[in-house]
């Protein structure tokens, strides 16, 4: 099975985010980055499918130069090669545009399966994978928690709300968006890290993808991003800060005598 894994690099979860003065985004220079959580699970699932059924795992990541770090990590875990699209000149929050560029890269490959995460931890639109499938003309299933290969296709377990699930069958090629927790993620081995050094990371630009500037222009779907900001508080929260012992005593007292819940 030839599997393409869409993998985005995002700021690490505990990052202290500072919004730029114009509200256009957060200051990126002092942030550390990691592989988007559900993409990490997608990669692991691809590696397991390859181990069970043989084939190839190709990583696809779009982002600035720094995403090569995430790519190398994925190669060290066992992906065979990678494609990097540098989007520094056309960064957008429009998933339609991002999916178009990713699709152009995937169309250059033959594939049986595309795996993406279900949602990014930064933009969180939960759309890129599904739009990508539409763009590639293949069927998709989202929030996937198990994949079984069958004759001529796959059977996947989709998560529904409140602890319910559903099995669906899809032909190949198709695209699945993977939910966190589908498997246990492996660590890269020293040997894997050594081997990764020899693996190919192909850099592709817009022209190699057969795209023009107008294909990645903002606004073509009608989406206009204006600004980000710290959310307004809607509830009055009593905040305790400082010496742990004093804070602990105050909180215990409040819960007993004010809220009367202990």
């Amino acid at each position: 099975m030839k599997i393409i894994v869409c993998m985005k690099q995002v700021p690490v979860k505990d990052s202290l985010l500072k919004i730029t003065d114009d509200g256009s985004w957060v200051h990126e220079t002092d942030l550390n980055y990691e592989i988007n959580e559900s993409d990490h699970y997608a990669l692991e699932e691809a590696l397991r499918l390859k181990e069970a059924h043989s084939g190839e795992v190709v990583l696809l990541s779009m982002g600035p130069e720094r995403v090569r770090e995430a790519i190398k990590q994925g190669l060290a875990k066992g992906a065979d090669r990678a494609i990097h699209i540098d989007n520094s000149s056309f960064t957008t929050q429009d998933p339609f545009v991002n999916a178009r560029v990713l699709a152009a890269a995937i169309k250059r490959e033959e594939f049986d399966l595309v795996l993406s995460g279900l949602q990014t931890d930064d933009y969180g639109s939960a759309q890129t994978g599904v739009i990508l499938a539409e763009n590639l003309g293949v069927p998709s299933a989202t929030i996937v928690m198990e994949i079984q290969k069958q004759n001529g296709g796959i059977k996947v377990k989709r998560e529904l709300e409140s602890g319910w699930f559903q099995w669906v069958e899809l032909p190949l090629p198709s695209l699945l968006t993977i939910q966190s927790g589908i498997n246990q993620i492996r660590y890269a081995t020293i040997k894997g890290i050594m081997m990764a050094k020899k693996k190919e990371i192909k850099a592709l630009g817009l022209s190699e993808l057969g795209l023009s500037e107008s294909d990645v222009e903002e606004g073509q779907t009608g989406l206009v991003f204006s600004k980000i900001y710290v959310p307004e508080k809607t509830k009055k929260t009593e905040i305790f800060e400082g010496d742990p012992r004093e804070v602990a005593q105050k909180l215990a007292d409040k819960l007993k005598n004010e809220a009367k819940v202990i």
Binding site: I19, K155, D253
Partner: protein, 324 residues
């Protein structure tokens, strides 16, 4: 008709409650923009549901077709696309459920239009609505608008609007919409729907819950949580990553894919407060949060918040409770 189309969600002839939340959102927007709301219902043999829905005083448009008997992304997006092309609504609204996540981006892409997903509210800037969605897992809000020709697609987070605010008293007509599904190939085969883990603990009955998140760092540290739960005479629950990692069984998970709870006391330790967690516990009586990040979204819904390191605060807190 330059209308607001709200796409309903039904399974086995029953409407998802969040459909009514989206209808309320649609009604509010309709008032601002001087438009009308139509609720779009898709399925097979859903006449009773259509009548029942219209009975609340909303205009219902029904698409009844063999190929819509089971939900599939191919069937739903093709059918809705045809309705949209015929009716040219200005807005298409959804509730951001798992089903909508599955097909709405596909529908939007097939129309070449943007879907602003998982919005928490809208606000008016002059005569233009600005849609607010969260980025960075709820830590930051972002404003989006639409430009150019519609339709404009928007999905609203579950509970973004209150279903009880439904404006009733409309005429409640049912209209039938014809679609031609001959050329539509349904590529997904739908198999059974089933409940996952057998729930061994019913957290919904617990009076007090201590809930632990990824801030606990290692399974070895779970002992601290057990001590806290004992001191408070509480059940233990968790956010999803803690269950994903196997540190607690799945039936202890609170949130959109786990249990919904509303204890007298919900004590959240090292939980950031992503929306998928919040929906499962926001109706709790008193909410306490301990988190080292003062901007963690869990503080927005907490009654008492401790900004600090849980490994420093909890041992002291357990001592204080024992002394009470």
């Amino acid at each position: 008709m330059s209308n607001i189309l709200v796409v309903a969600e039904q399974r086995d002839g029953t409407l998802n409650r969040s459909t009514w939340e989206a209808v309320v959102g649609g009604q509010k927007l309709a008032k601002e923009l001087d438009k009308e709301v139509t609720v779009l219902l898709l399925g097979k043999d859903i006449k009773d549901l259509a009548d029942e829905t219209a009975g609340k005083g909303v205009t219902v448009m029904v698409v009844d077709h063999e190929k819509l008997a089971d939900y599939t992304p191919d069937g739903y997006s093709a059918a809705i696309k045809q309705v949209v092309e015929k009716e040219s609504p200005a807005y298409i609204l959804f509730s951001h459920t798992y089903m909508v996540r599955d097909y709405a981006p596909k529908l939007a892409a097939s129309l070449g239009k943007a879907l602003i997903s998982d919005c928490i509210r809208y606000k008016m800037a002059g005569d233009k609505p600005v849609f607010v969605r969260q980025v960075f897992q709820g830590k930051i809000d972002a404003d989006f608008t639409f430009d150019g020709d519609g339709p404009y697609l928007v999905s609203f987070q579950v509970a973004a609007f209150n279903a009880d605010d439904l404006a009733t008293g409309g005429s409640g007509v049912v209209q039938n919409a014809e679609v031609n599904m001959d050329g539509v190939e349904i590529r997904t085969k739908v198999l059974e729907i089933f409940e996952g883990v057998k729930q061994e603990v019913d957290l919904s009955k617990a009076e007090r819950i201590v809930s632990v998140g990824r801030g606990i760092k290692k399974p070895e540290n779970m002992d601290l949580i057990k001590q806290l739960a004992e001191a408070l005479d509480a059940e233990i629950a968790a956010s999803r990553p803690v269950c994903d990692d196997g540190w607690l069984p799945l039936d202890r998970q609170v949130g959109s894919s786990g249990q919904t709870v509303a204890p007298k006391l919900y004590f959240a330790v090292g939980i950031s407060g992503a929306i998928q967690h919040i929906v499962g516990m926001k109706n709790s009586g008193t909410i306490v949060a301990i988190n080292k990040d003062p901007h963690a979204p869990i503080f927005d819904i907490a009654d008492y918040g401790v900004v600090g390191d849980l490994f420093e605060v909890l041992p002291e807190f357990i001592k204080s409770v024992k002394k009470l």
